[in-house]
């Protein structure tokens, strides 16, 4: 591996880590607060990408307006899921998971009916790029994703640590009944968690739309990766999700570059199996939850 290829792969991995962290943190937040494994999380990411396809590529609205619309739209989809599926099934964790599989199939079909099964071509919003001395390239399109991930995740971290809502959210994640006894509204915190979790997936999809050629089935590999990340990081650990996103993205990108993509997926899954067998609470998980 030449030094140029090495640095280029590091940059590619940083970009992959950024959008995976956005997705995985939302996934963990929903699991932590609601106790539900949201299998449809990859399709929320897909919905974000298609918002950009519809508004930016087809209608010609400015890129960042389309990204903002994707954030709000997918956040509202999250609220819909909370209201229609997860609230009636609150005492039934497997039921929530199964209902989210149903929702996933519906979202996929809507995308197929609305846009067709073919790959969408989203033109880049900018041609600017940073060229380093040794010829390594970082396009602005990818830089947006990295900057957005750092900005949004820092904002989320401050929100959870400093604000009253954040305290309520974390309290609900730790012990729902006790939080309710203290006068916190379970429904409100659930809505908040669902909105934030879904919107993060939506923004990841919207920002990466020009880079990945959206299809209605793009969510599947993403949700598998998110699964690996939250299992390895420990269910319910936001910090673990961020750190393992970085770890996973580097391992995956380097194996893909050096060997091939299928082997990279196998390595990721074996990593998850190993963690499940040796330490089911994950590398950063504090307590048993299932």
């Amino acid at each position: 591996m030449t030094p140029e290829l090495f640095f280029q792969t590091v940059i590619n991995a940083t970009y992959a880590a950024s959008y995976m962290a956005l997705i995985a943190v939302g996934f963990v937040l929903i699991f932590g607060v609601m106790g539900v494994v949201n299998f449809a999380h990859g399709e929320l990411y897909m919905a974000g990408a298609y918002t950009v396809v519809a508004l930016y590529a087809d209608q010609g609205f400015p890129f960042f307006l389309a990204v903002a619309a994707g954030l709000v739209f997918v956040g509202v989809l999250g609220l819909l899921m909370e209201f229609a599926l997860f609230r009636p099934l609150r005492d039934n964790p497997l039921g929530g998971l199964i209902a989210s599989i149903g929702f996933l199939l519906i979202l996929q079909t809507i995308a197929v009916l609305g846009f067709g099964v073919r790959m969408e071509n989203v033109p880049p919003s900018t041609q600017d790029k940073i060229v380093f001395l040794n010829g390594v390239v970082l396009t602005y399109q990818r830089l947006y994703v990295i900057v957005a991930a750092i900005g949004l995740l820092t904002a989320l971290w401050l929100f959870l640590r400093k604000s009253k809502f954040g305290w309520a959210l974390r309290a609900c994640a730790q012990d729902r009944e006790a939080a309710a006894l203290q006068g916190m509204s379970i429904n409100n915190t659930a809505r908040l968690a669902m909105f934030i979790g879904a919107a993060l997936a939506g923004v990841a999809g919207a920002l990466t739309a020009p880079l990945v050629s959206p299809t209605p089935f793009m969510g599947h590999p993403v949700v598998v990766a998110a699964f690996i990340i939250i299992i390895v990081g420990g269910l319910g650990s936001l910090e673990g999700a961020v750190l393992v996103s970085i770890l996973y993205a580097f391992v995956h990108t380097f194996v893909t570059t050096l060997y091939d993509g299928t082997l990279a997926n196998i390595v990721g899954l074996l990593l998850m199996l190993a963690v499940l067998i040796v330490k089911p609470t994950g590398l950063f998980g504090a307590k048993e939850r299932a």
């Binding site: 494994v37 599926l85 497997l94 199964i98 209902a99 519906i106 809507i110 299928t262 899954l269 089911p280």
Partner: protein
């Protein structure tokens, strides 16, 4: 479309059995060619979903069942194509390889329960499925395109099994025998132990039941028949690919089991038959085949929200209309209770 659950032979059960045999025998002749092909797949899917139910008896929900079906399909296809093993024997080899793989997978997987088992079974299944796709193993598994030109079931006397109707009869016989075995297992001491492990695993352990061994046994039997279903599929269709056994196929198995219900032996059969008929009759006549996932998704959500006992929960109610209230309560398990 299920075997009558009679403890002692009686005249109603006998008439029901004869009717069932007559319907199964006559049915393909009333259908078009393409419907006959769907009927063959339906019979194979009945075995698939019933074998899945055996594992759920112990309280574990696996996400590897579609891949295990694929293991049976790949093993049988390779044995007959590359090693020239006679197809009927290859099918048994396929089923046995699937069962043996389940035996090996038991050691890591049954260290876990519930949600963790679900996720780990998914990961293990995906690793196996991706190895079929992996370019370094293309010489063996054919990569993403899979295996083509799998030898068909050989002619027996003058019966040509390339004809869907004849293959359908073959499948009905194989599946009926398999279901009988699954049924006997469930009603035996072993099956009762599975129930005990599901509801009271600590208690079962305390009276000397080796829960690991029984979980493994359920997994191996379940995998054997899933592998057999895969082998029946492979030699009928003639071509298999990794895509055919992916998580989407697994989702359909889950939907059939959940919509039908898993408390009774006939629940999953009702689920797969009802949904296949609805899918073929309603969606095909409307000409909206791409709506299929949405239809299944909506059915799944409606079932989990409003019908947690599945379609089988309706059976006693319909019976009551004719015979009055039942003598004993009909206990049924739902996925929600399964995790608690």
């Amino acid at each position: 479309m299920h075997k009558p659950e009679n403890k002692s032979p009686n005249i109603v059960g006998f008439i029901g059995f004869v009717l069932l045999v007559v319907v199964l025998a006559v049915l393909p002749h009333m259908l078009s060619f393409s419907q006959q092909e769907i009927l063959v797949l339906l019979v194979i899917n009945v075995l698939l979903v019933c074998s899945y139910r055996l594992l759920t008896l112990t309280g574990e929900w696996s996400l590897a069942h579609a891949v295990i079906m694929g293991v049976g399909a790949y093993a049988s296809a390779l044995a007959s194509k590359e090693l020239s093993v006679p197809v009927p024997l290859a099918m048994l080899i396929g089923a046995s390889v699937a069962g043996f793989l389940a035996f090996l997978l038991s050691f890591p997987l049954f260290r876990m329960k519930g949600f963790y088992f679900l996720i780990a079974s998914f990961a293990a299944g995906e690793v196996i499925r991706l190895s079929w796709k992996w370019s370094d193993l293309t010489f063996l598994f054919g990569g993403p395109k899979g295996i083509k030109r799998i030898p068909p079931f050989p002619d027996f006397l003058t019966i040509d099994f390339y004809e869907p109707v004849n293959y359908y009869y073959l499948c009905v016989v194989v599946v009926a025998v398999s279901l009988l075995i699954l049924y006997r297992v469930e009603k035996s001491r072993i099956g009762l132990t599975f129930h005990a492990i599901h509801w009271q695993d600590k208690l079962a352990e305390s009276v000397g039941v080796n829960t690991f061994r029984y979980r493994m046994l359920a997994f191996v039997i379940s995998a054997f028949f899933a592998g057999l279903a895969g082998a029946l599929y492979a030699h009928y269709v003639g071509a298999i690919a990794p895509k055919r056994f992916d998580v989407e196929e697994m989702v359909y198995i889950l939907i059939w089991a959940i919509v039908g219900g898993t408390a009774t032996f006939y629940g999953p059969i009702i689920g797969v038959v009802a949904l296949t008929i609805l899918n073929e009759v309603v969606l095909r006549s409307l000409g909206v085949d791409e709506m299929r996932p949405m239809f299944y998704g909506a059915v799944l959500i409606i079932a989990i929200l409003f019908m947690p006992n599945g379609l089988e929960g309706l059976v006693p109610k319909i019976k009551n209309l004719f015979t009055g209230p039942p003598k004993d309560g009909n206990r049924s398990l739902t996925p929600s209770q399964a995790t608690e």
